[in-house]
Amino acid sequence: EPEVTQTPSHQVTQMGQEVILRCVPISNHLYFYWYRQILGQKVEFLVSFYNNEISEKSEIFDDQFSVERPDGSNFTLKIRSTKLEDSAMYFCAREDRGNSPLHFGNGTRLTVT
């Protein structure tokens, strides 16, 4: 069983719509990450989140993306205006402490039509 639960497992949306992907870690951790994997390509880093702030982000994580932890539990990734090229698997990950392995959720498959 994954130590991180992601919802929904599959999301279909129309281009230009906003989507929110959710991640619920089973235990209380401080380090969270979002990664994505476009079909047939590498798993790519999007953003890291520590102590309720973004600590690092990649070039992919532009102004269309945002993350927050609104209720101290759920960790969300919002894409404001989806594009076709946003179609991918999005993975949430948590880390117990610095430089320890990342533990991934099962992902949300986002399809933008």
Binding site: P2, Y31, Y33, E56, S58, P101, L102
Partner: protein, 112 residues
């Protein structure tokens, strides 16, 4: 930026056979992580290697880190159908926190 190259890209082996997957980094490795992914699912952590020469084993899977060669290998002994999946190596880009980069993966199929 750092790149991880995995070889082979795909592998088909007969059940019971041994196999090795390699991961080579373009830059100095500050630790190396191995994950397994089944199609359409998340990444499952297998092993973490942090020191040159380090070797770790879990069940029939052994991973080694050669820091000088900037390379790691994953060896499976007596493969089983349950070993099938995509094996990914990951490393922190330049040692930065959180920015774990991955290789393209090696797809392993095990024929019963």
């Amino acid at each position: 930026s750092q790149e991880l190259e995995q070889s082979p890209q795909s592998l088909i082996v007969q059940e019971g056979k041994n196999l090795t997957i390699n991961c080579t980094s373009s830059k100095t490795l500050y630790g190396l992580y191995w994950y397994k992914q089944k199609y359409g699912e998340g990444l499952i952590f297998l092993m973490m290697l942090q020191k040159g020469g380090e070797e770790k084993s879990h069940e029939k899977i052994t991973a080694k880190l050669d820091e000088k060669k900037q390379q790691s290998s994953l060896h499976i002994t007596a493969s089983q159908p349950s070993h099938a999946g995509i094996y990914l190596c990951g490393a922190y880009d330049g040692g930065s926190q959180g920015n774990l980069i991955f290789g393209k993966g090696t797809k392993l199929s095990v024929k019963p």
